[in-house]
């Protein structure tokens, strides 16, 4: 039986899709059979980040409306075994998703996979609520910035009330915090919230911290999830995050200002 994990945030542009792609890639690299589903119907991006946009034929909405079979819509990742992508429709809107349809798709996937990663759209409307409704665990992506923290707080409230687990009164959804775009230098100068501030306000388990990194932008534009870039700080941070998701205890990295050596100060080397 697969574990269903929603990657959500409330606010847009904080790195949900990047994180969903990086985490699902990391899980597959660890040998877990993983599928990542784009719930952002009408604004699909996941296929671009995963680098499979040229191979999309059918999508989630086609499957829900019975126009295609699930296996026809699943795209197999070219780089990693065990990784599949279920893209969103670009031409429809979020009303095309129904709760029964989503339930049926997830039920079928559950039998075959170890992990189902749901990439939620921004906002708290129908698309976001459907992405989180059936989840067992949630990864709430937050930037070190007040409005992002406020929106994440709102999402955590919805996770505790508007999901199947909440409605049926079983074990609550396991909530994780993933802080992205963390820049220790800017935290020190007071431009960004500190990790401690975020943790104090949101009061949930910290799954990982991803430093602000050029590697992320590069990875997005090349369509290669940043987890593949093992030399980059962000790639390593996502690998750590995946290990923690699998229950390992890994110390936190990249949350403190690194002292720059003489050479990098002279040549203004950027961290990669």
């Amino acid at each position: 039986m697969a574990k269903i994990i929603v990657v959500t945030s409330g606010k847009g542009g904080v790195g949900k899709t990047t994180s969903a792609a990086a985490i699902s890639t990391g899980l597959a690299l660890r040998g877990k059979k993983t599928v990542v589903i784009d719930f952002d119907v009408g604004l699909r991006n996941l296929d671009l980040i995963m680098g499979c946009e040229r191979r999309v034929v059918y999508d989630l909405v086609n499957v829900i409306q019975g126009e295609a079979g699930l296996n026809q819509a699943l795209i197999r990742d070219k780089r990693v075994e065990n990784l599949y992508i279920l893209p969103a429709s670009q031409t429809r809107d979020k009303d095309a998703l129904t709760q029964e349809g989503v339930a049926e798709v997830l039920e079928k996937l559950r039998e075959e996979f170890d992990f189902i990663i749901c990439d939620s759209p921004a906002g708290i409307e129908r698309g976001a609520q459907l992405a989180m409704y059936f989840a067992d665990e949630a990864i709430v992506v937050t930037n070190p910035e007040v409005s992002s923290v406020r929106d994440s707080d709102r999402i955590l409230g919805l996770l505790a009330s508007k999901t199947r687990r909440a409605e049926q009164g079983g074990d609550p959804i396991k909530e994780h915090l993933l802080v992205t775009r963390y820049n220790p230098e800017r935290v020190t100068t007071g431009d960004m919230l500190t990790l401690e501030d975020i943790r104090e306000i949101l009061a949930v388990h910290l799954l990982g911290l991803i430093p602000e990194s050029e590697a992320v932008l590069r990875a997005s534009n090349q369509g290669v999830p940043v987890t593949h870039d093992a030399s980059s700080d962000a790639g390593q941070a996502y690998t750590d995050t995946v290990s923690r998701l699998l229950g390992e205890e890994i110390p936190l990295r990249f949350h403190e200002v690194q002292r720059k050596g003489l050479l990098s100060r002279m040549f203004g080397g950027n961290r990669r």
Binding site: R150, D153, R154, L156, G157, E200, I201, L202, A203
Partner: protein, 249 residues
């Protein structure tokens, strides 16, 4: 033996109970005046008006005759259910009964009678402790305990008594109580105590960053609060017609 057989056949049993009850203390006998005020209140807090049972207190009115039927109709129009009348003259009592409402003696009389009964029962201490227990239960049932963080967009309310939050109340969240609000954590959202008009209610928290503080409708915004009080423990009371905020202890 015969007692047991009887109890199996009983259609009901009488039990003493103390239920939380809203008293609507009238200071005007004019149904239209009442209607106008109710309409205003209804738009402010619609959640309160859901066939809420109320006792109409007419003690403060000095009128031998009341348009009781019309006042009740106004209440029902606004989803308040008058169940009894307290105080008033003999004609008021008669018309309450005629309308199918109960009638309670004015507070002064009730208190006097309670004292009387206590002195009577002083000999049998057991009964007294029973009463106390019932009263204590009724009070604790009205207190609401919430464990965890109250998050942005969430509203937690105790409509009959105190609210205790073990955790923080985050920005964008709202906590309300008929009585006092106790927060064992940071208060960053809105806290409204004494929502039914109890000016004795207070707000207590471990760290004050509240967006809004209100006791019985008298409020202060974050902007109005002395910055030196922020980030510390605080208690908030309504004293001398204004909100007083000071560090706890």
């Amino acid at each position: 033996m015969s007692l047991n057989a009887d109890s199996a056949n009983m259609a009901f049993t009488f039990k003493g109970g103390m239920l939380p009850m809203t008293v609507m203390e009238l200071s005007s006998a004019d149904p239209e005046h009442i209607r106008r005020q109710l309409a205003g209140k209804l738009s402010q807090s619609p959640a309160f008006f859901q066939h809420t049972p109320v006792v109409l207190s007419v003690e403060k009115l000095d009128e031998p005759h009341l348009a009781l039927e019309r006042i009740c109709a106004v209440c029902r129009d606004h989803k308040l259910l008058p169940v009894a009348v307290r105080g008033g003259s003999e004609p008021v009592r008669q018309s309450a009964w005629a309308l199918g409402l109960g009638w309670f003696a004015p507070v002064e009389e009730t208190r006097a009678r309670a004292l009387e009964s206590v002195s009577k029962e002083e000999a049998s201490k057991n009964n007294a402790s029973d009463d106390e227990r019932i009263e204590a239960q009724a009070k604790s049932a009205a207190t609401r305990l919430y464990r965890g963080t109250v998050r942005s967009g969430q509203q937690v309310s105790a409509s009959d008594g105190d609210l205790i939050v073990i955790g923080a109340v985050n920005a964008g969240a709202e906590v309300l109580a008929a009585g006092s609000i106790h927060i064992y954590g940071a208060l960053r959202g809105r806290a409204l105590a004494g929502i039914h008009g109890n000016t004795q209610a207070g707000i207590y928290c471990r760290e004050l960053e509240a967006e809004l503080l209100s006791v019985a409708g008298n409020y202060k915004r974050l902007e109005d609060v002395d910055p030196r009080l922020l980030g510390r423990t605080a208690e908030v009371h309504f004293i001398k017609e204004q909100l007083e905020i000071k560090p706890l202890g």
